[in-house]
Amino acid sequence: MSVQKLKYILQIADNALIMGHRLSEWCGHGPILEQDIALTNIALDHLGQARSLYQYAAEQFNELPRAEQEKVFTSPALQAIIAGGQPIDEDDMAYLRDGWDFYNVLLVEQANKDWAYTAARSLYYDTFNYHFYTGLQNSNDETLAAIAEKSLKEVTYHMRWSSEWVIRLGDGTAESHKRMQEAASYLWQYTGELCTMVETDKAMYKAGTGVNLDELKTKWATAIGKVLDEATLAQPEEGWMQQGGKEGRHTEHLGYILAEMQYMQRTYPNMEW
């Protein structure tokens, strides 16, 4: 077990958690009841995936030698648990890590804004996820492979949901077309990071555990191109891509997400809920 692998698991888990968090913000506020329910199902899927992955990450973490453990996460709250010699669990992973120890891509933390932004963000992410989990099924890590296999069924459904909405809005009314185009173009700057190999990705791919993101690039772009085309949307212009999430450098959004999400655990430490 390596710290590298731990970070890899966390990358996947953090994507799922933060994406689920954003989608869950729609619950009770959707444009129509049926879609409120549909989107919450998707949020629940992401949350479920995050939990399996955090449980696995915690297991991995607890097996590390103490000296290594102390170096991985710097938050005082986690340091205190490690100093006490206790094992950590899924909730410690989600609620006690600081922002710089979160490795999700910048895309998933972007605000919901409206149904078009939500659909575009989902389309970009779900399409990546679909190909990513397809590859991860072949991981030499059996747990990851099993999680990938289970998640893939859900992700296939997510991708269908987001593709259909992007098409509907793009090819719907003049207003929806305009909004959809704006969302697709704005969020484009956060898509470059999806298939960029950072150190963790490279090491895990080399070890036979991770997915070759270079291979995903064209698959992702082709799939997205098709959907945008059917949606009568213009392909966003290639330009500067925002990076850093996978290495813990985030947009301003993550701080607010964590402040809200972690508030209970941070305010009332060491309690059962």
Binding site: I32, L33, N41, K153, R160
Partner: protein, 101 residues
């Protein structure tokens, strides 16, 4: 066209949902929902009426195409999705002395 339909042009049509929960059984009416088109109606039906339980077969028909004779129907059954166990009451750890819950 009724008055309501002209007032709310964007109101999605109503669909009746029929679900076959197991192979060999009949499709059963489980309720209705609104959707913009048939495909969305099927997907919404999975989300609303099965919480996406797998292996079920779904029929949807726009309510306006349904002709009714005998309205007598039996109460519809509902099975929650099998992997969302927190939807089952027995998922919760409660003391034995607790009654009426």
């Amino acid at each position: 066209m009724s008055q309501q339909e002209t007032e709310h042009k964007s109101e999605w049509p109503l669909w009746e949902v029929f679900i076959r929960s197991k192979a060999g059984l009949d499709h059963k009416h489980v309720g209705s929902l609104h959707a913009a088109d048939a495909q969305m109606a099927i997907e919404n039906a999975r989300d609303v009426y099965t919480r996406r339980m797998e292996g079920v077969s779904i029929w949807v028909v726009e309510s306006k195409y349904l002709h009714t004779s005998d309205p007598d129907e039996s109460a519809s059954m509902y099975e929650p999705a099998n992997d969302k166990i927190y939807r089952h009451p027995t998922f919760y750890n409660l003391p034995d002395e607790l009654k009426h819950m």
